[in-house]
Amino acid sequence: MIVQQALNALQLGSIYALIALGYSMVYGVLRLINFAHGDIFMIGSYAALFLAVYLNMPIALILPLAFCAVGLLGVTIERLAYRPLRTAPRASAVITALGVGLFLETITLAVVGPEPKKFPALIDLNIITIGAFTATNIQIIIIAVSIALMTALDRLIAKTKTGMAMRALSWDKTYAPLFGINVDKIISFTFAIGAGLAAVAGIFVGLAYPIIDPYMGIIVGWKAFVSAVIGGIGNVKGAVVGGFLLGAVEILSAAFLPSTYKDMIVFGLLLIILLFRPSGLFGVPVQKKV
């Protein structure tokens, strides 16, 4: 039972983590809570649906294509909506993000209609049963690919100059160009990766929970944001750990405690974590010297 639940938690956690990464990366660089991110994830799901149903593509093509297309969408959103606000107060940008999110939801609603859509089975389902324990090949693929992507990203940010530049920008953008950093390029890159990962998460949600609708990004988006914060927003490792932790808490609290209180328990735990670690699990408290 516990092993079974752990696997379920891992699957849900991978998805939260992938989306949380986008939140965290964008936050890390721009100090912007990109509330549109959950909706970008939703667009990712629809993009994959489109590629699969209308263009009949296999999953191996859909993943990279959706990654790129949605990455481009992320870059465009940044270009049009956030870049003009880079020097504006932070709250204006957050509100803009809320606006962009609302726009993405309703435009999808208006264009493809409110009816939920069946996400095609891109991978033939195999159920692997070992005793009382069952796993599906989809679960395993989701978990494996997510972990691979996250590890790659973590390397990128910790070890490469681009990664270092991303972190530098989160501290200060005015002086960064003095060291040859092309701020716009780094920010676009960040958005591309963040949105691309959200698209991957969108596809995975389609595979694991194959019904999608225009509002699917809201709740998952908020939860991913919560994951990012639990881990320490702006921190890649933190986002991953936060995602898995949230997945685990949700599943385990529903599994072993009255499920009616699930939300109360999950968010209560979040409060407690933040009470004891106000900057999240991996967040370094911002220390400015006095």
């Binding site: 936050y27 809570i33 909506a81 003009p84 606000l85 504006a88 107060p89 932070r90 709250a91 204006s92 940008a93 957050v94 509100i95 803009t96 809320l98 606006g99 962009v100 999110g101 609302l102 726009f103 939801e105 309703t106 435009i107 609603l109 208006a110 908020w222 944001f225 919560v226 914060v229 927003i233 009616t260 209180y261 699930k262 939300d263 109360m264 999950v266 968010f267 209560g268 979040l270 409060l271 933040l274 009470l275 106000p278 900057s279 999240g280 400015k288 006095v290």
Partner: protein, 308 residues
């Protein structure tokens, strides 16, 4: 000025007593009033203190449920007791604000956003599980005690109180926390006290707004007070421009009227409205008022004809 206020109240009172106003118009005006209270009070925390709280829906919910509980089950069913119920609702909300101010001392910035988000989820979950208030089926049997004059009085009161606080020593403390919390501490501003104060006052008025809302709609359920309610209030606040009272008022009024007036567009108004909002933010990042306060809301003793 004082005369104007009295005249406004008289007008509202007459409309109520003789049922003069068109009911629909009255309803919208009352929504605007309630939204102004919500926005102005959120402004204290998000605008003047510079935090980013998204918890207003929770404070509103507590105010709404508590005030309803008092008016339905505690006090006699009589409009005369309504102010008491309303006040009780405000107090309950303020208490919750006090509770949340404590973790807010520790977390800053966007962590506060998360804490308040959690607060909404928890409040909603509690309301869904509490048997006395009907759970998700909602709280029924609330009387219609909210009327134009009540909303008018509460709106004016919240604006005046918040204006008077902002332009006082407490207000300077609140703004100092926004500008530089560490430095504020080191020039004797008790930042803990300031935060409690801002949160308690802000949530008190959110609670009042909740009570008014409940006794206007006469039915409340947990879903009404979801995160979407908070985002609405946030949109109104930053649309008008945070950090000014006139901005909050304008933001609340414009958003309420716009959504109502464009109702015939159906889905499409939620396609156009966000685009308009984003454009506004780009061209006026500080909102419609652009951070400028209306002279009326600056007390005489603080008005220096603000050189640009």
């Amino acid at each position: 000025m004082g005369l104007l206020l009295v005249a406004g109240f008289a007008a509202a009172f007459v409309c109520d007593t003789f049922n003069l106003a068109d009911q629909y118009l009255a309803q919208i005006i009352m929504y605007i009033g309630i939204n102004v209270i919500l926005t102005v009070s959120l402004n204290l925390v998000n605008g003047y203190m510079g935090e980013f709280s998204v918890g207003h829906a929770a404070f509103m919910a507590v105010g709404a449920y508590a005030a309803s509980f008092f008016s339905v089950s505690v006090f006699p069913q009589n409009p005369a007791f309504f102010p008491l119920s309303l006040f009780a609702g405000g107090i309950c909300a303020a208490f919750l604000g006090f509770m949340i101010a404590v973790p807010a001392f520790r977390a800053r910035d966007d962590y506060l956003a998360i804490i308040t988000l959690a607060l909404i989820m928890i409040t909603k979950s509690v309301l869904e599980n509490l048997p006395w208030f009907g759970g998700p089926q909602g709280y029924h049997g609330i009387q219609k005690y909210t009327n134009l004059s009540g909303v008018y009085l509460c709106t004016i009161a919240s604006i005046m109180v918040i204006r008077n606080i902002v332009y006082s020593n407490f207000g300077r403390g609140i703004i100092a926390v926004r500008d530089d919390e560490v430095a504020a501490n080191l020039v004797s501003v008790d930042t803990k006290q300031v935060k409690i104060l801002a949160f308690v006052i802000s949530s008190f008025f959110a609670g009042i707004a909740g009570g008014l809302f409940a006794h206007l709609i006469q039915f409340i359920n947990p879903r009404t007070f979801s995160i979407l309610k908070s985002t609405d209030i946030l949109l109104m606040l930053y649309l008008g421009g945070s950090g000014t009272i006139i901005g909050s008022i304008l933001g609340a009024a414009i958003w309420t009227v716009l959504i109502e007036a464009l109702r015939f567009l159906g889905i499409w108004r939620f396609v156009f409205a966000p685009v308009a909002l984003v454009m506004l933010m780009i061209y006026r990042p500080l909102g419609i008022m652009g951070g400028r306060e209306w002279r009326l809301f600056i007390p005489k003793e603080n008005d220096h004809g603000r050189k640009k």
